[in-house]
Symmetry: C2
Subunit: 290 residues, 2 copies
Amino acid sequence: MQPSPKELGRNIDQQRSKAIQFLRLHRGPRTLVLPNVWDVSSARMVEDAGFPALATTSAGVAYTLGYPDGQKISRQEMLSVVARIAGAVKVPVTADVEAGYGDRPEDAAFTARGVIQAGAVGLNLEDGREDADNPLVDLSLQLEKIAAIREEAADSDIPIVLNARTDVYLNQVGDPEKRYDVAVRRAVAYKDAGADCIFIPGLRDADTIARSVAALKVPVNILAGPGFPSILELEKLGVARVSLGSAPMRATLGLMRRIAEELKAAGTYVALEGAPSHAEVNRMMTDRAS
Amino acid sequence: MQPSPKELGRNIDQQRSKAIQFLRLHRGPRTLVLPNVWDVSSARMVEDAGFPALATTSAGVAYTLGYPDGQKISRQEMLSVVARIAGAVKVPVTADVEAGYGDRPEDAAFTARGVIQAGAVGLNLEDGREDADNPLVDLSLQLEKIAAIREEAADSDIPIVLNARTDVYLNQVGDPEKRYDVAVRRAVAYKDAGADCIFIPGLRDADTIARSVAALKVPVNILAGPGFPSILELEKLGVARVSLGSAPMRATLGLMRRIAEELKAAGTYVALEGAPSHAEVNRMMTDRAS
């Protein structure tokens, strides 16, 4: 059933090197910045801007295909986009695969296998649930999922970078005073289960970020954007990795809205000014297409 | 082999009504403006902005999937995106299917069948070729392609709106002094062969536009953008339909570049400001997802 790596055009040695190279980017000296991408052209644009690795945004990918965020898209559709992106760039690609598309550890492992087969070298696994009464996956189950992914990566001989995300802050779980302790307890457990990086979206306060980084002793990923400390400030706080989630993709949707509204209201084209030319984008898309 | 309309979830009567409604939008009183879209979220954004119909950009779709413009993408990949878009909006959708993905009239007919099966109600067919010595498809062959599409539409009982494009101006074919006559001769022949609208990209001069509209006595589509007459001016010139090609999609790529470059140079997030929120885009993508 499963196509072989050769059929997929993957080079296992090259993929392994990319995974190692991607993990190394979490160890400094600079903060790894990942402006998340959602299709091949956004990926090419970010790669061309000189970023050493790419991360996908699951929400952004879902939107382009007609779904809201939150695992409404199928695993297969998500991984198809990851494969297109990973096959079209030279730098390492990490995939946002939400909560792994299934409740069981074997679902997470199956998703990890798909990520590897897609040519990516990292993945995000989140612990948030869309259930107000029970907003986080049970810790023990989440640890089993992480262990299952680690095992799958070992079996595949690709040391994928596992970015374990806790949604304690993002989902505003429980008593605000207790969130830090809950997040750190989960993060330490995720690290011990095999996570390479801990992602705590929703964390924005510089003191709490610094305290988390010091407590965890593992690379920490912060979700940034307008209203957040700058990259330089986050770097000074010891943040290993900064990503932007779906914000870049949503910003482009906002531009599409401005273009459409200007056309409707004024019948002019100001919002289109400065777009890269047809010839330039064609060149960008041709260069490495083979 | 071919799934039935029912399997595809298409409602033939509804699709026929949409085709008629779309054609009617070419008959005034206002100019039909089509800010071209390339995926479901851009389509939803334009529909939500109140536009009564949507047109895809073949270049934009190709870029998102990793191809340069110009029929490097396969017919099937292009039509899959058209089907996703047409299935996700209520307004009529017209598909840019380049030169029909094949040199023969039967290729054009097969593509038209695919457009109809995808749920779209219109298509663009261009006569440009990527051959400097022979930059236009032979007129007689192009007329056979148009007739074959018309026949396919009749067989399918969906009166798709055929937008026949001549690339005389866009590809700067031959002596500039003779372009007008070549374009009008082709356009009249396309109309007589069954085209509902004539698309002359590359035409930007107000006098020549007015002259073409007067000569053709059929709805004329002008490609607009920065440097072109405004929608109101084009309306006064009698232009029935205005589209923007890949410019909106390229503008969003330009924004992605500004976001990435700002992150790299300054480590700040100004280019992300004003993006619609995660909650807002989720709502937009949920509303009509069923």
